[in-house]
Symmetry: D2
Subunit: 358 residues, 4 copies
């Protein structure tokens, strides 16, 4: 068993870490940390809102027993050398300061954006760009660290990159236009989205989100060459919105392909890719990496988000595009807090351990 | 005062007709008709759900006094020659049979799709393609009718065509990719969208909607030449979804322009177009035809849909597109039951009367 | 294995029957029936809405494989003598005609109200009034049937009767005032509650609901004496409302007790009752019959409804009442489609089989 | 014109003050104050959320022009002697410290609970207990202030007290049991209710709310005797819950009356009371003080909350109670931010000015 810590354990993503590490086969969670406000409290007390008295726990599962009485440490109370691996769920500004300190001795898997865009830092999605993990060893050398920082992509990037990969490999891609309808939990819980803002409404803007998705997608789909990533030569344009949905990001994707692609062929490529995906056998790997529906009313976030515990990217409405010379369009659904965040981070940890990079 | 009838007066669109004709300066509503189930009842009784006892009236205004006790006729009970104008809010299959009978003697303004795609039928948006109304006289001659059928576009087309028009005129357009987030009221009320289907959810598909928007946009933006419309030479691709919002269709639009366009220039064109729009002065014309927000969190359906009684198209987030060589993207909001439907139909009637076509 | 049929298999309650009978230890579902509209279709096709194309399946679990291709029969196509037991999920008017025909040969467990108020018909809640099942044999004799009709209570009655029982037994009850906040699924799915009616809203009225709860509670809590039920001598007053919640009825209960009762004592009685409940060991019996929370923010329908697969009644906020001389008040949550309906019906079937009444 | 200030101008209640004072006939808003965070900013900037960029303005009306550029002062920057009247919308702890300082020189109308329960402080609802305002002069003398503190009741108390008053006067009341279904805006906006907490949910608990309603109702309905209030000799028990509704508190009320009361008689008393209410003619007084519906599906918050700009208490479902010897039950709806808060405070100011108490 590897000993792991979670920093930022009380927030939305942190809670998903707690769930995903409950009875994990390979990882034992031995310490948790969070902000000053929570430090020194039992976990169960730290996640209760002091004003309303409401337990800020928004998951289908109950709070696992193993964590209820664990005392939340200060972030500075974490001694990284005591851990084989540290998961962080921090705001980007905090991550920028804290993660390098941890990485001196210990691998860090991060959900923050702070280091995603540095040249010796890969943005890894297990099954999509596993070979980019080579960059982690280069990062170690560059920075003189025993550990490294391996950030996940933004939760809105994940589903799109996963579904574009089989298209890119088989048909080539010139341009992508994507509009997201993102879930509330993507904005976290302190306070996240205010009910008065979103009920009976759509918020057409999520600060910084579009830029992240545009840049990350090209990096993730890029090639490793001589120890650096050449970004994929495709253009990506996004509009990101918030809708009144609890969990699960829905995305409407228009793709201009290099070669003509029939809807059925795209479906087959996705299904083939899913079947042969590299991560099969890892503890958190889903039974299906991608599911493609023929039913045009799918995917729906409430119906499809929990399939395979939120680790499957669900696709529907694949059809020829009517405005590109060569193009297709489709809808996708990705669970922003499972595959798109904490549980995806744990899948990445499993991959890195399995490949002896950890 | 012109005497008018409304057919399909009890449904979602019909109710908006009732409201918009309340105390109208030019039009007097003297008869209403609806399905067998409602016929013979007082209006106020006909709109009550027999099972739940709930009044199926979903508007901010109360049921106007003038209509409460008006008896609902059968559709066959309408003698078209008694009216100067008939508004219809019918299912397409019914419209196909009923509207031609009415048009023999009387102008019909229709919210149904039944005749939109015929060559001697214009799809009119007041302020956008007023000159297409010329086709109504050709239609009269062609068909030997004293009246005509003038259909509105689909409610999802309206806002997009309105916002594309100034871009097309100034910069030219090659391609448009649009994803809609449509309101519940667009699906009507008998029963429309079931609460169990849409709460905490997005439905990624609205049957036939995308095809309508794609075809109608090109026809509306087309040119009149020698008595027929040449469709606009642009390509349109749509994905239409349903979201948990009561009223107001939100649309995310990506436009490839022929010439380079800066966001500020697009804004200026829209504002100039709005200022000079042809319909100024008509009773139902809004103070602002288009409003463009700088605030990136606008438009929001709940906040913006009622501006100028739902007759304004509200635009926001105009910015350069990152994937087209020349492109812009923006969000728009259009009230699907006001400008996009019944009240838009009345604005059209006002225009046709003002231009002596009625 | 007993052979069972489900009549009304395509509706909201019917779907829960399908799920609850999937891989059941004692019961094998061998035929399903529904209305004309569905008859002759495969189950998976019968539950698809013909207009929107949406699969009208609103459960956390996917449609079980075993049922997808089963052909839906007409109700008249059911030969009751082919079954050991029939579950019905019918509208009351239909139940009145159909159920007696079935009961001639076969036991019928019904979710309809049609026969609940007849003197030789018990309203059974497993664990609360098991001894009322004696009346089923009397019913058989009275009516010359080999089967019987055993109706469940209204889904709003169930949780209240379950929580009142331990209070009644220990402290006595004079009066009960209850306000319910009922879930959408309680209104079924064809069409059930319209989204336009309930979003951002409360509907303060559910036709006939209050009368049902008032009468049923007294009958369920009554005593068997010489082959008939003496209703419990307590008074019940209800106000039933609909709120925008998918599943799970929440109820606010004020109880005037005969003897003074401290909150902690009521909690203890409920927990003791739960621990000793008669149904322990039946296949569908929950691990906890009643759960009582100290946390004042519980129960919450979204958080608590799925506990023990919806078979647990969850109680919170037990406190002394401030207006009765002797009184307490509390909140409860009961899953209206699980314990309150289909799965509760199956639990009842298990009880009757276990007690050799089936 | 009286010069007024609003303290706490940026929050939910403060915004309603801004709207209600726009173009007010008698009151001119000349200064606004709020917390440190907002001080020194223009109003329009102070109400924008710094993280999401969303304008935290949740009203049907747009932000009035007159306020957009007004600079928000610190609370300490308010010199009370510059004003004829000060409205406060503060947290109770802040109110306890700030309001007495202001009241030394200037009348204060407060929405906070801080002083409601002191013996020389009336809790005034215009039209219900106007004569309690006599206590304000006593308060002045007691405390040596030129001004006074006049707090409004809790927003959940208002509608109940208004509807109980005509029942109490005519039939007498022994006991009241009330369950509320309260709107989101009642919890304010910084942050108020988190969307993840309330979507598809009911929160069964609002800290301190029930105690407030229970105590305030009895004080408001009490009698002035020799300069002090004798609380009304009725017992009140409440359960307060939060539901996913934007505005408008719905309450289910069970009343044990001293004398028998028929539903129609209660309706008549309410309507008579409404017609003869004392406040008629004041600028903010609604056309109808109470509206009573026969339609059992009313009141509904989304439909009824904006009637008469939220100043009317809407009642429905009046019927005999089945559990009391003499009892009735009904539903009510009161707009928590209009009559129940800021606009109610302004109505109170108008009353006090009209009665020369200000």
């Amino acid at each position: 068993m590897l000993k792991v810590a979670v920093i930022g354990a009380t927030g939305a993503v942190g809670q998903e870490f707690i769930i995903a590490l409950n009875k994990h086969k390979w990882f034992e969670l031995t310490q948790i940390a969070a902000s000053e406000r929570s430090a020194g409290k039992k976990y169960i007390d730290a996640i209760r809102d002091p004003n309303s008295g409401i337990l800020r726990w928004h998951n289908r599962e109950e709070v696992p027993e193993y964590i209820k009485d664990m005392i939340v440490s200060k972030v500075e109370g974490i001694k990284p050398e005591n851990f084989d691996l540290i998961f962080t769920a921090l705001e980007s500004d905090d991550a920028k300061i804290i993660e390098p300190k941890l990485a001196k001795t210990t691998p860090v898997i991060s959900t923050a954006a702070a280091f995603r865009y540095e040249t010796d830092v890969p943005i890894l999605i297990p099954g999509i760009n596993d070979n980019h993990s080579e960059l982690l060893n280069i990062q170690r050398k560059n920075r003189g660290w025993r550990g490294f920082i391996a950030p996940l992509p933004n939760c809105t990037t994940t589903g799109m990159a996963i579904t574009l990969k089989p298209i890119l490999d088989r048909f080539g891609i010139d341009r992508v236009f994507m509009t997201s309808m993102q879930a509330l939990s993507g904005a976290g819980r302190s306070p996240g989205v205010i009910a008065l803002d979103i009920m009976d409404n759509v918020i057409p803007y999520i600060p910084k989100e579009e830029e992240k998705v545009q840049v990350e997608t090209k990096k993730i789909l890029g090639h490793m060459n001589n120890g650096s990533i050449t970004t994929a030569p495709l253009k990506v344009s996004c509009t990101c919105t918030r809708v009144p949905v609890l969990d699960g990001h829905t995305e409407s994707v228009f793709v201009e392909t290099k070669q003509a692609a029939e809807a059925q062929d795209v479906k087959k490529e996705m299904e083939k890719f899913s079947k042969n995906v590299t991560i099969t056998g890892l503890p958190s790997a889903p039974k299906d990496y991608i599911i493609v529906h023929e039913d045009p009313t799918r995917p729906q976030p409430r119906i499809d988000r929990e399939i395979n515990d939120g680790m499957t990217t669900v696709v529907g409405r694949i059809r020829k595009d009517t405005a590109f010379d060569n193009g297709i369009k489709y809808m996708l659904l990705s669970h922003n807090e499972k595959m798109g965040s904490a549980k995806g981070a744990i899948l990445l940890a499993e991959l890195l351990k399995d490949r002896n990079i950890l």
